[in-house]
Amino acid sequence: MSADTRTSTPSPQCADVACSHCGLAVPTGLVEHGASEQFCCAGCRTAYAVIHSCGLDRYYALREKLEDREDRAPAQSTRARYAEFDDPAFAELYCRPAEPGAAPGHGLWSCELFLQCVHCAACVWLVERLPRVCDGVVESRLDLRRGMVRVVWDAERVNLSRIARALDSLGYPPHPARDANDRDLRRREDRRQLVRVGVAGACAGNVMLLGLALYAGLFDVMESAYAALFRWASMGISVVSLAWPGSVFFRSAWAALRTRTMHLDVPIALALGAGGVWGVVNTLRGAGEIYFDSLSVLVFLLLVGRFIQHRQQRRSADSVEMLFSLTPTSALLVDEDPDGGPGYTREVSIQSLCAGQMVEVRAGASVPVDGVVVAGLSQVDQSLLTGESRAVTVETGDRVAAGTVNLASTIRVRVEATGAQTRIGRLMALVQDSLGRRAPIVRLADRIAGWFLAGMLGLAALTLGLWLALDPANPSLAVDHAVALLVVTCPCALGLATPLALTVSIGRAARRGILIKGGGVLQALASPGTMVLDKTGTLTVGRMRVVRTRLDRETRAAVCAIELHSTHPIARAIVEAFASADADEAADVAHTLGGGMEGTVRGRRLVIGSPTFIASRIGGLSDSDARAVADLTSAALTPVLVAEDGRIIGSIGLGDPLRQDSSGAVADLRSRGWNPVLLSGDHETVVAAAATDLGLPRASARGGATPEDKVGAVRDLSSSGATVVMVGDGVNDAAALAAATVGIAVHGGAEASLAAADVYLARPGLSPVLELCEGARRTMRTIRICLAASLCYNVAAASLCVAGLISPLIAAVVMPASSLTVLALCVRSGAFRSGRSS
């Protein structure tokens, strides 16, 4: 996961000099001759200085021993001020008093923060030495797996923003973890589950010991007083087991019955209830069979299965939330100068902004609010919101929306709407709405449960009737056999099979970069349906790239030298495509925003820019040049022209090309019976071109779709009850992701899409989607095999019961045996194994 958050390491490198902090090679230009310490970047320099001045140099020794060399990365200090961490609203949400009597600004407080870039035991050591780095911090405990630190500080001596800056300077940028209330709730739930498993285990073990004594008594003579003692003792423990940890099954069965739905817990609760009640009756009257040992083992095994599944799902969800918390939470508020001066900026939390205020948005930052540009001229990338990959020029008077990214230069924006009132906020509301309306995926086990229950009850009635007819004088024997049937055919293996198979798959998938939030997803993906694919960022890289070039080699180098002076996406794409070892130096470089650039390289004066810009500079385009531009535009490419001495010497076509593996993956999906559909917010022409490249019929590609259109399309497709899978990355896809049967957010997606999706792919491209479908198919096959095995067992056990041949001893051997078979089958399953899935 942390690999996503690391930016690229600096290039070009000199292999001889290693950075004193991170140990990676130092770029040639940054090597300081004669200095004993060398740094590859400013982040490492800061981190080293802090660590050194606090006397924590042992970190490096530990790291040398403990760190995997592959994990090395430069310190990722953001140098943010974290001023929003001191906001009362922030404290309300994320901080908690750590001692009784702590009030804001007074006493001990605690907060949990996600830390980026923690990866080894040395990080644990360093982060937990925070009290030595930042005065006033009392305690710091790191949970390495989750990357979460709990800090306790004295509010009179230090504030949270200083602590955050200290962590940032060490190279671990902190992010608020989650709403503290929500987290407390989850923690309580986790602990409750663990207690249940523990108590059920203790009960099961003790009842089994007592059962062993009773079974030994079957073969030897046991005095009836001792037999009664053992029976009473087993009853005591089992009642605890059934009433405390086992109560979850009764509650869940009751809830299912009340809503008239079927759940696997109904037959389980029936078996537990019937076995328990009749066992108590038999103990009280001192005759007949008791199944207490089988019942307590049943409760224990089922709870273990559920606990493991719950933990695995929580693990995947935590990883996604870590990504989610990386959203910026602060904005630069401009305090306006009444005399008309430029004013001062200060960092505030986004929540505290209100309409009418002015914020500054620097190049590369995302716009925090909906508003109108009041100063500055820039270009914004709206792809997150609209799915369109081309940047849009904005100037004074134009509207910008929250969530878009400012690309070129600083602008100031008058706030019109914040938070839930922004377009993105309304989209998020749509996401919530869609999630609420989504029909839950009916689990296979629950579908079977109804038939199972009917079968169990029918057979029990049959047994009862049969034995009443055979031996009318002894009705309790008939009840004994009927209860034995209910207990022995209890769908224990069935109840274990699904959670275990799903857990094994979710765990293996997570290791392969596919984070699955819930088990139902795998079931829905196992059989093919319609797969709606977003274009930008999903099928394509989501970035501008040079696709066509008509320029000689020398001019390319010159163009590259000029474009090096800009951070615009088009310029960066050109630099990426044309970069060569012997880079020229450009002089007198000038930018024209929204138009192009010019500069002098080796005495040549080149003008590079859009056709309109070039036309205005050289006084119109010739017919052949206009044709070349039209060619590029019709191929859905953005044209860039290069002019020298008043005439055009070449052209470049940029676009967001399909990933190399996209066509193959789409063909593969179709061969597996999926129906891929292209749905994009990009221009019709661009989408049509992409569909042709992918080999999709024109009818299954649609462009110009707004986020609302996408939701509508997904709802239309799924209205017939078919499986609709949505694959997308942007905020514009989020509501559609939530509306689909299964939403898959792809690598690099927006936070909103992570919140709405059921699956997050930590690897780029479509190949993880294929792997996911294949893994889902294999998982379901494993589950079916397990179900078949456990049904066979149940049929065999049921016939023994009807014939009155079962005894508690046989039940105690056969029941766990069936569960163990299922366990072995699940662990051996081939789902998401490297090399076995495509």
């Binding site: 035991a121 040395a122 050591w125 405990r141 790191l142 949970d143 390495l144 108590v199 203790a202 003792a233």
Partner: protein
């Protein structure tokens, strides 16, 4: 063998004590993070 009438209730008391201790440990958060302590013990010096 009548000692069983004493031993079994005693065993119950012991088991009850163990369960109580387990629940106490869970509530104290001893089982919340099972990975990091293993690393911490390797690097702890002045802790």
């Amino acid at each position: 063998m009548s000692i069983l009438f004493l031993i079994i209730p005693l065993a119950f008391l012991l088991a009850g004590g163990a369960i109580a201790a387990f629940i106490y440990a869970v509530r104290q958060g001893q089982f919340d993070d099972l990975d990091t302590p293993a690393h911490r013990v390797v690097v702890d010096d002045d802790g």
